[in-house]
């Protein structure tokens, strides 16, 4: 039989058995809509998380902070990240005695001042505050009761190098000798006090190169952090920073959405396979004399196989096409409102700007799975069937 004639014959049979074909198309369309729809959601989240990250980086710059304890090897951390090109600039802040970010409301003799230890910048001199008076920070300062303040603070409080700065925090009194005064114009960080005895380093990384901003960036950063923690056996401080926090929440959404999506897609694929198998079985048994007659007048087993398969291929093509159109319409209309609503409902208040998309991969996977199911199930069902004596097929007997 010519292949073109076989196609025509299949199509005719499909058309003549109109209601049965429509029922199969409706069934597969519904299942395909779910598969393509959730494929689209996964693609949207994946793409938008990445896009939002880049938008955020363009707007605020990529920043991550790691507060390290005295025992940790800061230099090694910097080198490891430098090797992997994880940043293009960084600032490193040294904590001495007590000290941290923000404004100092509790200071005894000062209401507001800036505590500014040395800031070192790689390839970015502006991050290094200019020293106006006193001594530069050096390794010798570690653990000593020295403090650097900015010019503005010095002028407003009438403090100079060598004076003692007294303050209390958490019911403790502290005294520091002012070791140097730095330019206010290059002071980038504000500090507040926190209860931290000893000495630590805060490294803030900046990555402005958008090509390098991706999920892998954070993954590598986490790996370095884990490496350092395990190497020095420390309960150290986690990575923080606005970009990193965004990454964490985005990853949570992605994991949940992917999990739910894959589950639903798997259920739908299972249902599709089950329905196809069942329908093919029914079709074959209901078409006993039709297939038997074809065999009797000379159709080969392979021709019967393709006669059945081609009908299903047409059904799948139509079902996927309709499903694609339905999902495209949904994506272009209601999904813009539904998706943020769904995200808020599941994850609470979260910043994720979404632009719903269609996943072409989901369409292809849908077609592939359905095609494979039909090819295989027809092969298994028809193999046994077409090997029976023709008269048994014709009369529907065993």
């Amino acid at each position: 039989m010519k292949f073109f004639d076989l196609c025509k014959l299949s199509f005719k049979n499909l058309f003549y058995n109109f209601y049965r074909s429509i029922a199969s198309i409706v069934m597969l369309t519904l299942l395909s809509v779910i598969i393509i729809f959730f494929g689209g959601i996964m693609k949207t989240l994946n793409g938008d998380i990445q896009k939002n990250l880049i938008d955020q980086t363009e707007k605020y710059g990529m920043d991550m902070s790691m507060i390290m304890s005295e025992k940790q090897n800061t230099q090694e951390f910097i080198e490891l990240m430098d090797e992997q090109g994880l940043f293009d600039t960084y600032t490193m802040s040294l904590y001495m005695g007590v000290g941290a970010f923000g404004n100092v409301a509790e200071a005894e003799d000062e209401t507001k001042f800036r505590l500014h230890p040395m800031c070192m910048g790689k390839e970015n001199a502006s991050y290094t505050p200019k020293l106006l008076q006193g001594h530069t920070w050096s390794e010798d300062c570690k653990g000593k009761k020295y403090i650097w303040i900015d010019e503005e603070t010095a002028l407003s409080t009438d403090k100079k190098v060598g004076d003692i700065l007294k303050f209390s925090f958490n019911n403790q009194n502290f005294e520091y000798e002012i070791r140097g005064i730095i330019s206010s114009s290059s002071c980038l960080l504000e500090y507040t006090f926190f209860d931290f005895e000893g000495y630590g380093v805060d490294v803030t990384l900046y990555q402005k190169n958008l090509d390098k901003v991706d999920m892998d960036f954070f993954k590598r950063l986490e790996d370095i952090d884990k490496y350092l923690i395990s190497k020095y056996n420390l309960q150290t401080n986690a990575i923080s920073g606005s970009s990193y926090n965004y990454y964490l929440s985005a990853m949570t959404i992605k994991k949940w959405a992917t999990g739910i999506g894959i589950f639903l897609i798997a259920v739908c694929i299972g249902c599709s396979i089950g329905s196809i198998l069942n329908t093919i079985k029914i079709n074959i048994s209901k078409n006993n004399y039709s297939l038997g007659m074809m065999r009797a007048i000379g159709a080969k087993s392979s021709e019967i196989y393709w006669y059945i398969v081609l009908q299903w291929l047409i059904i799948i093509f139509i079902a996927t096409l309709i499903a694609g159109i339905i999902v495209a319409i949904m994506t272009a209309t209601i999904m813009y409102d539904i998706m943020p609503m769904m995200l808020r409902l599941i994850f609470g208040d979260i910043i994720l700007i979404t632009t719903p998309q269609i996943s072409y991969w989901a369409i292809l996977i849908n077609i592939f799975v359905l095609f494979a199911t039909i090819m295989l199930s027809s092969l298994v069902l028809l193999r046994k069937y077409t090997q029976k004596p023709v008269i048994n097929i014709l009369q529907g007997g065993e």
């Binding site: 010519k2 005719k12 004399y289 038997g292 004596p389």
Partner: protein, 224 residues
Amino acid sequence: MIQLNDVRKIYGEGESQVKALDGITLQIPDGKFISIVGKSGSGKSTLLNMIGALDNVSSGTIETDGIRIDDLPSDKLAEYRNKNIGYIFQAFYLEPQFTVMENVEMPLIIAGEDKALRREKAHKLIERLGLLDKENKKVNTLSGGQKQRVSIARALVVDPKIILADEPTGNLDVKNAKEVMDLLREIVSEGKTVILVTHNQDDAKKADITIEIQDGKIACIEER
């Protein structure tokens, strides 16, 4: 020439075993009208199915023009059926949703014939069988007699050497039954072999040779 040698067909196993054909040895000459008669369950339809390669033999051989059809592989057998045999059944076995033309040309589609040629052949037969006005009508709109004529046209369209007819008049009224029998006689006159299975003694007597089957064995062969 169709040659059957000690053909046996056994259904079931053990105690539930049924011998449908029990050692049939038979020669059917070309261009003759053969009728096979016998009671229900005697094995006459089974014999026809064996000759038409629609069923497998349990033992024995069947040869047509020197070719053993009982051990041909499935696809070769399909090709053999397509080119050499035309079937006419009591239940017609037509595609109800297809038109008369589509049903008649089906064996030619399977044979890979070009559209124009197969349409021409099918059209001629449809005209010959008086169904020209029904050519593009769906088969399920036809009467029993018309359906059987479509079935005969489909059997003849590939110009086979052998026509097998299993109770072709069983579902027809007297007038239509007579028309079908006349058609079969006409086919024989064109040099084809027609093998008819029937309950009807009058129909059987119209054949050149009548074979009576009893309990899977040939009871008698009557030549006219």
